[in-house]
C-alpha cells in the first residue's frame, strides 16, 4: 500500500476559520468604532506568532548575509509555510523599503470580489502584518509594515526597515 502524504491541509483550513473567528470576536468585544484597537491587538498577536514561526521555519538554515537575503527567505519559505504559496512579487529600493505583492492572498481568497466592503478588508491583513514584523524582529531586523488592498483578493505590504 503506497504511503499518501497530506501536506497539512486540515490545519490550513482551521487556521483560516480561526483567523475569521478572532476577527469577529475582537470587533464584537471592542465595538465597531474602535477599529484602531482591533488592529493593534491583531498586530500584537501576529508579532508573537511570527517570532516563533520564524524560529521554527529557519531551523538549520545558515545565517543571512544581507537584509535582502532575509526578505527573500521570508517571501519564499516562510510564506509557503504559512499560506502554501510564495509571494508573487517583491520590489525594493535597495535602501530600506520592500514591497510584497500577493495576487491571491489566502485570507482574502474566500471573500467576495465586489468593492462593497473594501473598507473592512485592512482588518484581514493586520494579523499578517504583525506576522511579518515578528518574523523580521527574530532575524534582528526592526521594521514597520503598512498594507493595502487595491482590489480583492490582491494585497500588498510595504515594509520599511531600520538599517
Amino acid at each position: 500500500m503506497s504511503e499518501v502524504k497530506v501536506q497539512g491541509e486540515v490545519s490550513q483550513t482551521l487556521f483560516e476559520y480561526l483567523h475569521m473567528e478572532i476577527l469577529s470576536h475582537l470587533i464584537e468585544s471592542y465595538g465597531n468604532e474602535k477599529k484602531g484597537e482591533v488592529i493593534s491587538a491583531l498586530e500584537a498577536l501576529g508579532s508573537r506568532v511570527g517570532e516563533s514561526m520564524m524560529e521554527r521555519v529557519s531551523k538549520d538554515v545558515p545565517r543571512f548575509r544581507t537584509e535582502l537575503d532575509a526578505m527573500i527567505f521570508l517571501c519564499k519559505q516562510f510564506w509557503t509555510h504559512m499560506f502554501n504559496k510564495q509571494v508573487d512579487h517583491l520590489k525594493t529600493n535597495n535602501q530600506d523599503m520592500f514591497v510584497l505583492y500577493d495576487n491571491n492572498f489566502r485570507l482574502l481568497m474566500h471573500l467576495s470580489e465586489s468593492s462593497q466592503h473594501q473598507d473592512k478588508s485592512p482588518l484581514f491583513l493586520a494579523f499578517t502584518s504583525g506576522l511579518i514584523t515578528g518574523a523580521l524582529s527574530n532575524l534582528g531586523i526592526k521594521s514597520r509594515v503598512t498594507y493595502e488592498v487595491p482590489k480583492m483578493p490582491q494585497c500588498f505590504f510595504q515594509i520599511k526597515i531600520n538599517l
Partner: protein, 140 residues
C-alpha cells in the same frame, strides 16, 4: 572537569545556564561559577566576529582562556549557544549536543506562554537538556 553551557539571547542576556563542572575542591566552586560566566560573556565579541566569516551554524572553538576552550553555535535567528569546556571533549559530541539542544530549544520557543528573549524557567526543558548532555557524553 569544567563544562558550562549557556544560551545567550539578542540583548546578550543569558536565557539558560547549565553547569556540569566537577572539582575535587568544593570550596572553590562559587568562584569557578562566576569565572565560567565571565569567560562566556567575554567571548561574545569573538562569536559575533566569527559568525560573519562562516555560514555554518556550528562555529568551532573560538576562544581560549588559560586551559579552557569556548565553542560556539549561532542559529539563523542570532541565538548563541556557548560551551565553556576543557580539552577532554571531542568535537563530534559537542556538535551533536548542540543540534539536540537546538531542537529542544525550538520546541520551548513555540510555547505560547514563553516570552521571547527571557529566561527559560521550565523544569522540563532543564531535564531534557541534562538527558541530552548525558546521551552525548558531555559533562559526565
Amino acid at each position: 572537569m569544567t563544562c558550562y553551557f549557556v544560551i545567550v539571547g539578542h540583548h546578550d542576556n543569558p536565557l539558560f545556564e547549565l553547569d556540569f563542572s566537577r572539582h575535587p575542591e568544593v570550596v572553590k566552586m562559587e568562584d569557578r561559577r562566576h569565572l565560567n560566566q565571565f569567560i562566556a560573556h567575554a567571548s561574545l565579541d569573538l562569536v559575533d566576529e566569527a559568525k560573519w566569516q562562516s555560514g555554518n551554524l556550528y562555529l568551532k572553538t573560538i576562544d581560549k582562556f588559560n586551559e579552557l576552550n569556548v565553542t560556539g553555535f549561532v542559529t539563523a535567528s542570532n541565538m548563541r549557544f556557548l560551551l565553556v569546556h576543557d580539552s577532554s571533549l571531542r568535537t563530534d559530541s559537542i556538535k551533536n549536543f548542540f543540534s539536540d539542544v537546538y531542537e529542544h530549544f525550538i520546541k520551548a520557543i513555540l510555547n505560547p506562554f514563553y516570552e521571547p528573549n527571557t529566561q527559560i524557567k521550565s523544569q522540563n526543558f532543564r531535564k531534557k537538556i541534562l538527558a541530552v548532555a548525558k546521551k552525548n557524553g558531555v559533562g559526565s
